[in-house]
Structures are given as structure tokens and as C-alpha cells.
């Protein structure tokens, strides 16, 4: 089957309005389902407390205080865990028939995925603020200053935005929301835990170090951490940008194609 023809071009105003409508709907859902708010905000705070006060004392890091190493890592980890919600949410919308209804509306074809990823972005901004405040309360001191902190935040939000499209693709591929959730675990665990998010990579066995040092999430964590703490970032900032752009260029069209086919 070929997909029905698209909306006429040049109707950017409506596309923006449609994306905003869908984003608003997804953010309302986030507030309405207590468990999703727990995942978005409470869970990262728990991670901060757990690693700061339980595991942190046993971890030696080159940045001195472990809390300074930890908080930028938690920020990156939270945005990746949060994107799981995108996969689950889209699979649920497909399963329940909401996507069918959207497809029969004169709305922009990009709005469902656009709105979903924009809602993710908004959630990540909220997470950034909450974790920063909680972090500072438990002793996080970003010595890099305000400017680099904002740079780091923007870099992280951009990287997370690209990740959202990948998880949108996963959600559209899954037959139901349970499967979508199950499909994300083998992705998020290696990329968040076999990385420089919680511990320095050099303490891992050498075979794991090669993966952990070079994978995109470690680059993002290194870049965000370096900027926030005012330490050398090496190649990590531009590598994060390259990974982010690359992911966006590949994953956004892939998810969009999948959306057109999914029914």
C-alpha cells in the first residue's frame, strides 16, 4: 500500500500549531499519570541521593568530589531513561487507535512525532532544573560558571532530542506498550551503565573500556561534565554534536517513515 498523499506544503503555521497541540497533550499526560511523573522527576532525584550517599563514598574520581562527577552524569542518564516514555507512549497510542484518529484529521503529518519529541524536550528542561537544584543542595559545585553551564545544558538537550527520535522509532516498531518497554531495556542499560555516567571508564576491564570510552553517551557525559566543571573537554563536545546530528539525520526520517507505515 502506498501512503495517502501528504498535506500541502507551505503551511508551516499549522504545522507549528499542531506540534504545540500534541506536545501539550503529551505534557498533560505526564502530569495526569502519577507513575510517569515519578519516572520523570522522582526517580532521578532518588538516583542522585543513592549515588551521592550510598555508593559514592566508595567511588574514586579524578574530579575530586564524587558529587561533582555524578550530577552531570545523572543529567544525561535521566534524559535517556526519560526517552523510554516516548517509546511506550507511542506504542500505546498506536495500540489504542489514537494514531488512527490523528491520521484522519487535517493535521500536519509530522505533528505526532514532532509534538512527542518537543514534549520530551520540555520534560528534559524540567529535569535539568530539578536536578541542578537538588544537586546544589547535596553539594554539587559547577566550577565552570554560568556560561559553560548553559552551553552544557543546551548540548545535553540537543543530544537528548536526537535520542528521543530513536526511541520514537522503537515505539512505532513495537506491537504494544509492554513490548516497547521490554525493547528499550537492552538498549538503555549498556549505553547508560557501560559509560562514563557514574564511574570513570578507566576502572573497567579493558575490553569494556573500548566500548564505554567511545560510545556516544560517554562522549555526551564527558562533554557535559567537562563544561559544567570547567575542565578540559578534549574532543567530547564536538563528538557529541556529531553523534547528535548523525542520530537526528538518520533516526528522524526513519521514525517518520515508520509512522507513515504504522497503522
Amino acid at each position: 500500500m502506498t501512503a495517502p498523499s501528504q498535506a500541502p506544503k507551505g503551511n508551516l503555521r499549522w504545522a507549528v500549531s499542531d506540534i504545540a497541540t500534541i506536545a501539550r497533550r503529551n505534557l498533560l499526560t505526564l502530569i495526569r499519570i502519577p507513575i510517569s511523573l515519578v519516572f520523570a522527576v522522582i526517580q532521578p532525584v532518588m538516583f542522585v541521593l543513592l549515588f551521592r550517599y550510598v555508593f559514592g563514598g566508595a567511588i574514586r574520581v579524578p574530579t575530586g568530589q564524587y558529587v561533582n562527577f555524578l550530577i552531570p552524569g545523572i543529567l544525561v542518564q535521566t534524559t535517556i531513561f526519560g526517552a523510554v516514555g516516548t517509546a511506550i507512549g507511542l506504542a500505546e497510542d498506536l495500540q489504542r487507535g489514537l494514531i488512527e484518529r490523528f491520521r484522519a484529521l487535517p493535521m500536519a503529518r509530522t505533528a505526532v512525532l514532532g509534538g512527542r519529541t518537543v514534549a520530551d524536550l520540555a520534560r528534559n528542561v524540567l529535569v535539568l532544573v530539578v536536578i541542578t537544584v537538588v544537586g546544589i543542595a547535596v553539594g554539587f559545585r559547577p566550577h565552570g560558571g554560568i556560561g559553560p553551564y548553559i552551553e552544557a545544558s543546551l548540548l545535553m538537550l540537543f543530544f537528548a532530542y536526537a535520542i528521543s527520535w530513536g526511541f520514537a522509532f522503537v515505539g512505532l516498531t513495537a506491537p504494544n506498550s509492554e513490548t516497547a518497554q521490554a525493547m528499550t531495556f537492552p538498549i538503555i542499560f549498556p549505553i547508560t551503565f557501560a559509560s562514563s555516567i557514574f564511574v570513570p571508564v578507566r576502572t573497567m576491564p579493558s575490553w569494556l573500556q573500548d566500548f564505554a570510552r567511545n560510545q556516544p553517551v560517554s562522549q555526551a557525559a564527558d562533554a557535559v561534565r567537562g563544561l559544567m566543571l570547567g575542565r578540559p573537554t578534549g574532543n567530547s563536545v564536538w563528538l557529541t554534536l556529531v553523534w547528535g546530528f548523525g542520530a537526528l539525520v538518520i533516526l528522524a526520517p526513519l521514525a517518520t517513515m515508520r509512522y507513515r507505515k504504522a497503522a
Binding site: 495517502p4 499549522w14 499542531d18 499526560t29 489504542r96 489514537l98 488512527e100 484518529r101 484529521l105 487535517p106
Partner: protein, 312 residues
């Protein structure tokens, strides 16, 4: 395999047009093509004068879709659902707000407007679903099995709402598995089976072809059933359907035929375990039109492979 094969029909403006058929007959495929969700492999369709493939957005602006597959967001309130659909139809904010409140009022959902849809009953959800399809005041309303799975009271409520909409000038294309529903709402009917139109006309015409009532006789033994069927061979114009101890006739004068049958069976000394008169079901329509039951995958399979065991 094609879900639809050589189906051609016109839906008259201002009426309810019914697509009647069992699961897998192609009703939903038809609806999905007409609402631009799916493009046809071949052939064409126009909705309100717009081509479903080349003018999909114009079609989308002129239809409202509700039913088993179109749905509402259960994490939003009733009002928020209508607002979302209104905005996605590109109505301005004041219009969306006015329409949402009007429809909530009209469908008796005002008190539930600020509650999450998750807390709604099945009937309330369907009413909200229908309201969502109507936010943009489309000239054509497409309803895919609007009452499947509803309790009798909610079904009656929904029928009354649909009738009111048609009175106010909306054209409705309706799919249903229930003859009763098609009969009550639709002026014109098409019966689909395995993606083909097997009958069309007004529901009255279809009923006349079918006979108005089903007389169902349950004999005490299969032997009695065979003897009874021979005895009552002239009871109806169409031959009886015999399954085990049950013999069914489609008759025009229900009570009179029943009395006649009882008299003659009594005279011949053939005992009955039960007797029932009922409205013809979709099954009866199918049996009458195709010779196979609505739920059969292959024509005649049940009757050939399991003689006498096909009784529901």
C-alpha cells in the same frame, strides 16, 4: 487476497447509509480508505467530491471519524480531548471552546467534562468519541461499529443521538454487525461478505427478501426434526434450515405460522422441546444470502464438515 473486491457504491446526502457485515467482511477496510487512513491499491473513492488519495486533506476536513478504532485519550479530560481534536482541525480557540461545551452539553457529559476519561463508563466514552468526531461540524460522519460492546441502554442512547444528528442535516456512513442497528438507523444498506457486496437496498427491501420473522422449532429428537420438516415443508417460501433438532423458517406472518405449525405437529403427534419467534439476525441474512453463517471462514464449511453440529 483483497480485503475489498469490486465494491462500488454511492452514499446519498442527508441520510444514514449502512455497511452491514461480519468481522473480516471488509467494512473496516472500506472505512479506513474513505477516511484516508489507508490508500486503496487500485480504484478510487471520492468523499464530498474530494479524492481520498490526491485530496486527502480536503477529505479529512470534511469528515468526522468515530467508532471502534478511532478513540479518545483516556489520560485527558473530556473537555481536553475535544479541545485537542478541535485544535487539530484548525478551529480557532474561541470556536473550539464553544463547540466543546456545546457537544458536552448535547451528549450529557457536562458534569464529567473535567474528569479524566479513564473514569468514564463505556457509554460515556463512545459519546465523547462521537463528540470528538463532531467538533469541526463535518458534513459527513463516519461511524465504525459505533455501538459494538455497549450495553443495551447505552446503545439506545447512542442511536437517539445519531438520529438527531441526521435530522439536523448530517450524512452518516455507518458500519455495523447488527441488523437491528442497520434497520433502525440506515435508510440504504449494503451487505458485505468477503470484501464483496452481496446485497443492497433499503432495509425494508432486504427484509422482504428475507422474510420478516424467524420461526425456530426445537424438536425432541433429530428424527422428529426430519419428520416435522417434511410435514411443514410448505410453511415458508424458502426451505427450512435444519441443524440437529432445530428447524428454522423465515416466515412473514410470525404468530399465524407458529400456530399453524403447532396445530399440524400436534395432529401428527410430533413432540416439540421448544419454539421461538425472533427478528432475523445478521446470521439469518447471511444464511439467506450466501448459504453460510456470518462467522464462517469458508462458505459452507460448517455444514459440510460437521453435519448437525453447526448449531450455535
Amino acid at each position: 487476497m483483497h480485503a475489498l473486491d469490486d465494491v462500488s457504491l454511492r452514499v446519498p446526502r442527508g441520510e444514514v447509509f449502512g455497511l452491514l457485515g461480519p468481522n473480516g467482511s471488509g467494512k473496516t477496510t472500506m472505512i479506513r480508505i474513505l477516511s484516508t487512513i489507508l490508500a486503496p491499491e487500485s480504484g478510487s473513492a471520492t468523499v464530498n467530491g474530494f479524492d481520498v488519495v490526491h485530496e486527502a486533506n480536503a477529505v479529512r476536513r470534511s469528515i468526522g471519524l468515530a467508532g471502534q478504532y478511532a478513540t479518545v485519550d483516556e489520560n485527558l479530560t473530556g473537555f481536553e480531548n475535544l479541545r485537542m481534536i478541535g485544535r487539530l482541525n484548525h478551529l480557532d480557540r474561541p470556536t473550539v471552546k464553544r463547540r466543546a461545551n456545546e457537544l458536552l452539553e448535547q451528549f450529557g457529559l457536562t458534569d464529567a467534562a473535567t474528569r479524566n476519561v479513564k473514569t468514564y463508563s463505556g457509554g460515556m466514552r463512545r459519546r465523547l468519541d462521537l463528540a470528538a468526531a463532531l467538533v469541526a461540524t463535518p458534513p459527513l460522519l463516519i461511524l465504525d461499529e459505533p455501538t459494538t460492546g455497549l450495553d443495551p441502554q447505552s446503545r439506545q442512547d447512542l442511536w437517539a443521538i445519531i438520529e438527531q444528528l441526521v435530522e439536523d442535516g448530517t450524512t452518516v456512513l455507518l458500519t455495523t454487525q447488527y441488523l437491528e442497528e442497520a434497520d433502525r438507523l440506515a435508510k440504504q444498506l449494503v451487505v458485505l461478505d468477503h470484501g464483496r457486496i452481496i446485497a443492497q437496498g433499503t432495509s425494508q427491501e432486504l427484509k422482504t427478501r428475507l422474510g420478516a420473522t424467524v420461526l425456530s422449532l426445537n424438536f425432541e429428537s433429530t428424527d422428529g426434526a426430519v419428520r416435522g420438516a417434511v410435514l411443514l415443508a410448505d410453511l415458508a417460501a424458502k426451505p427450512a434450515n435444519i441443524e440437529g433438532t432445530v428447524v428454522e423458517y423465515t416466515v412473514d406472518g410470525g404468530p399465524a405460522s407458529a400456530a399453524d405449525a403447532l396445530r399440524r405437529l400436534d395432529g401428527a403427534g410430533i413432540a416439540l422441546a421448544g419454539l421461538a419467534l425472533r427478528e432475523p439476525s445478521l446470521d439469518d441474512v447471511f444464511l439467506s444470502l450466501t448459504g453460510h453463517r456470518a462467522e464462517d471462514a469458508t462458505p459452507g464449511e460448517t455444514n459440510l464438515d460437521n453435519p448437525g453440529k453447526g448449531r450455535r
